[in-house]
């Protein structure tokens, strides 16, 4: 098992390297760089900049060098000094900007995952056991509905409903008075009051997908001969259901963690922008618009690391729960 984990970690390195290169290239793909964006901004505000100043700035930021050299410098900084570079726009080290927001992103993603699993499994079971009943049709209809509605639209809709009909303050993870306050019990309570809405909005799409998968898995398992065997032992129907078919139907569900996690994280980015949450989402969007390449690159890289770790965890979980999978 340990050897398997070690090997998977080693395999993750080239993946991450590839992700960082692709992220870097994509950020650079739009014509121009951070300085052209900056010039355009200044020009629109009526200011003019001398050509000499621009050239000097370009040299200072290292933007005059070829792309592979810029990439090399960035990577070397990360690997040797843990230095993710500097945000051009905000003039601060990237590390300083990211960490607090990354924590919220992670928390939001994990909460969403827990929510999705906790709700999807019972609904999926109900839907399969009462196949073609009213509850199955309702679950199926809602599942397809939420699968079809995009995240941002759901966020807008939810915010509208909450603020207009229920008069709740929406947007953000905290009420104004707690945003800059230190951590306290009150702040935690405030967080709990705010966090559930984004969790539901981000999770609904994946939730719907998982309900469908759980239902299909379980329907396959319910007709297997080992269910009859267990029934012939005298086991009660409920114990039988949980102990055998549900237990087996969960295995394929665990492997969905590998793609549910990226879906949740990218959904989180979009929803966070709409609901103005203090996570990495809005920061990433701004960095991309401004071609603030070190900030954007670092964010994408870190989100990829989280995704790869999530996939690894799902593989390990699957190996632990299914004895048929042999780790070599």
């Amino acid at each position: 098992m340990l050897r398997y984990i070690a090997r998977r970690l080693v395999f993750a390195i080239p993946t991450l390297l590839a992700v960082s290169i692709i992220a870097f290239i994509i950020i650079q793909l739009p014509p121009g760089d951070y300085l052209t964006t900056l010039m355009a901004d200044w020009a629109s505000q009526g200011g003019a900049v001398e050509a000499g100043t621009v050239a000097a700035m370009r040299e200072r930021y290292g933007l005059d060098q070829p792309m592979y050299f810029q990439y090399y410098k960035w990577m070397a900084g990360i690997l040797l000094h843990g230095d993710f570079g500097i945000s051009f726009e905000l003039g601060k080290p990237v590390t300083e900007l990211i960490w607090s927001r990354l924590g919220f992103s992670l928390m939001l993603s994990l909460l969403t995952l827990c929510f999705v699993w906790a709700v999807a499994i019972p609904i999926g079971i109900l839907s399969a056991v009462r196949q073609y009943s009213i509850s199955d049709y309702v679950a199926t209809f809602l599942a397809f509905f939420f699968l079809a509605v995009p995240d941002f639209l759901m966020a807008l809709g939810a915010m509208y409903v909450m603020s207009v009909w229920f008069g709740q303050s929406v947007g953000g993870l905290f009420s104004p008075e707690y945003v800059d306050a230190g951590w306290s019990f009150g702040k935690l309570l405030d967080l709990a009051n705010h966090v559930w809405l984004p969790v539901i909005v981000i999770g609904l799409g994946s939730l719907a997908a998982l309900v469908r998968i759980m239902r299909a898995n379980l329907l396959d398992e319910l007709s297997k001969p080992y269910v009859t065997t267990a029934r012939a032992k005298g086991m009660s129907e409920f114990e039988l259901l949980i102990r055998y078919p549900v237990r087996l139907a969960l295995n394929p569900l665990i492997s969905t963690l590998g793609w549910i996690l990226p879906a949740v994280i990218s959904g989180e980015i979009i929803v966070s922008v709409v609901m103005s949450l203090p996570t990495t989402g809005p920061l990433l969007l701004r960095a991309l618009l401004a071609q603030d390449m070190y900030l954007a690159g670092s964010l994408i890289l870190l989100i990829s690391v989280l995704t790869i770790i999530g996939t690894l965890i799902s593989d390990i979980l699957l190996a632990m729960t299914d004895p048929r999978i042999r780790l070599t």
Partner: protein, 565 residues
């Protein structure tokens, strides 16, 4: 056995039906019988006769949408109290207290009937927990004891293993241990040996018999094989299309059968007792004809180090059938696949003589040569369900090799129709999909596909093992008819000596990758020289209850210290 005449289970006018879109299908239609204490009642019939549904009705575990419509199933408990199982709520507590405790059941597919992700000890001990609430430590002791009773080697380690770590026979022993956990009075066995090879079947039948005697159980044994019935039954119930055709003691049924259907069932087993008529009539094959296939010292070692084929040499003459016989794991299937180069043997020669007289070593043949040769050497598979694509019509399946050979249009259609006729299928069924056909018909489709490009040699791997006994001889007869019409040669791989005896001219016996005996079929069957061959022969169920052989059969133990998995 003072209580031997007591009736423990009395089924009266049982009706079980399945509601479908097209109406109600009566799977069991007015079945009545009595099961006596300590005795074995065999319910026999072809697939679809309702025998399995009858068995499941007793425990009320018929698959949806089947329901018991009428009749009674009266169980007499040891204390004399009686209960009508047919009246109980199928999800209720009362029927659950009967399941596993008073009446236990074992099933046909020991692999899929056990959970793959639970340890076997847990699955065996479960009934104890449900019915007696036995504490964990005590449960483990009891499970170990059960594993010893069913003779699973090294029970202390076996208890914590998973089903896929056991062979088919061992899995069925696990099932039996599970059924015995609560000392039930009745054991219902639903085709427990059908998925096993002949030697393992004999061992499992033996085990059930011994446990029945030591536990004083009554056994309701469901099977399609009259040979098995003759070996173990006290009484027999013959079923056909949901109805009882005949009911009597085993001796009455075999020696004075009243019903035509019973006679036919017995006839299909007895036919396999000797050589096929069509073979007896045929002229001798020239012994000195140049061999079609000559295999010399072929060996294949898998990367795991397992020597699956070990120095095998054999010849196939034009127009003859060579049988390869051995139990599962003997390497016979691997050997057959080597002949087609599905596996690449590392050593030896596979010399194939083409129609023009040139000889090619298939072991070293290159890709274009192999493509040519695979048109002349073809294969028929065991599983008539898995080896036909469910998304293609019969015509498409049969036409596939012809298309690969470049045939198109009207010529192709005509050839497909002709082939279907040749194997006894209506050409009008050409647009149907495989699921619309019965097992025997599907195997005919497989045969039609194999002969479509006019091959010269066919390798048939357990071609009849998945079929009911009554269908086996039909498919074998068809294969022999085609052999005579087309001048085919067969390599016929089987674990069952009786089908080998029925159709093969010569036979080679394989054991652990080696050929241990080879010769004319008559000689090998009647005067076997190797002990393993004797063991294989004596494991065949003998369709005469007056001469039961399985219990006194000859057992083969490999000379080197053998280890059973």
């Amino acid at each position: 056995m003072s209580m031997s005449n007591d009736t423990i289970l009395k089924v009266d006018d049982l009706q079980t039906s399945f509601k479908t879109r097209t109406g109600t299908f009566k799977a069991v239609d007015g079945v009545s019988f009595e099961l006596k204490r300590g005795k074995t009642l065999c319910v026999v019939g072809e697939s679809g006769s309702g025998k399995s549904v009858t068995a499941r009705s007793i425990l009320q575990i018929v698959d949806k949408p089947g329901t018991i419509e009428g009749g009674s199933i009266v169980l007499t408990r040891q204390d004399g109290s009686q209960v009508d199982l047919a009246r109980l709520n199928p999800r209720g507590e009362e029927i659950r207290s009967v399941r596993g405790r008073e009446i236990a059941m074992i099933f046909q597919e020991p692999m899929s009937s056990l959970s793959p992700v639970h340890r076997i000890g847990e699955q065996i001990g479960e009934a104890l927990r449900i019915h007696f609430g036995t504490p964990k430590a005590e449960r483990r002791e009891r499970v170990l004891d059960l594993l010893r009773q069913v003779e699973i080697p090294r029970p202390e380690t076996a208890i914590d293993r998973y089903t896929f770590e056991f062979s088919g026979g061992m899995r069925q022993r696990v099932m039996i241990a599970m059924a015995l956990a609560c000392n039930p009075q009745i054991l219902i066995a639903d085709e427990p040996t059908t998925a096993l090879d002949v030697t393992t079947q004999a061992e499992i039948l033996d085990l059930i018999k011994r446990l029945q005697q030591s536990h004083g159980m009554s056994v309701l044994f469901i099977t399609h094989d009259m040979g098995v019935v003759a070996e173990i039954a006290d009484e027999v119930l013959v079923m056909y299309r949901g109805r009882v055709m005949e009911h009597g003691t085993v001796d009455e049924v075999f020696h004075a059968p009243k019903d035509d259907y019973t006679k036919r069932l017995i006839g299909s087993v007895v036919r396999l007792e000797r050589k096929a008529e069509i073979r007896l009539k045929r002229a001798e094959i020239e012994a000195d004809a140049a061999p079609l296939l000559e295999v010399r010292n072929m060996s294949l070692t898998f990367p795991s180090g397992l020597k699956a084929v070990d120095d095998v040499s054999l010849t196939v003459r034009p127009g003859e059938t060579l049988g390869i016989v051995g139990e599962s794991g003997s390497g016979k299937t691997t050997m057959g696949r080597c002949l087609l180069r599905i596996y690449d043997p590392q050593m030896g020669e596979i010399n194939y003589r083409r129609a023009d007289g040139t000889v090619i070593d298939m072991r070293t043949a290159d890709k274009p040569q192999l493509k040519e040769l695979r048109r002349e050497v073809r294969m028929i598979f065991q599983d008539p369900v898995g080896s036909l694509s469910p998304r293609k019509t019969v015509a498409q399946i049969i036409a596939e090799p012809l298309k690969l050979a470049g045939m198109r249009g009207k010529e192709l259609d005509e050839r497909v129709a002709e082939l279907m006729q040749q194997v006894g299928l209506e050409p009008a069924w050409r647009e149907r999909y495989p699921h619309a056909f019965s097992g025997g018909q599907r195997q005919r489709i497989g045969i039609a596909r194999a002969i479509s490009v006019k091959p010269r040699l066919i390798i048939a791997d357990e071609a009849t093992s998945a079929l009911d006994v009554s269908l086996r001889s039909q498919v074998l007869d068809l294969m022999m008819k085609l052999q005579d019409e087309m001048g085919l040669s067969y390599v016929f791989i089987s674990h069952d000596m009786s089908v080998i005896r029925y159709m093969c001219d010569r036979v080679a016996v394989m054991y652990r990758g080696k050929l241990v005996e080879a010769g004319e079929t008559d000689q090998v069957v009647n005067r076997p020289t190797h002990d393993y061959t004797k063991a294989l022969l004596s494991a065949i169920p003998h369709p005469d209850p007056r001469d039961r052989r399985i219990q006194n059969r000859f057992r083969y133990v490999a000379p080197s210290a053998s280890v059973n998995g």
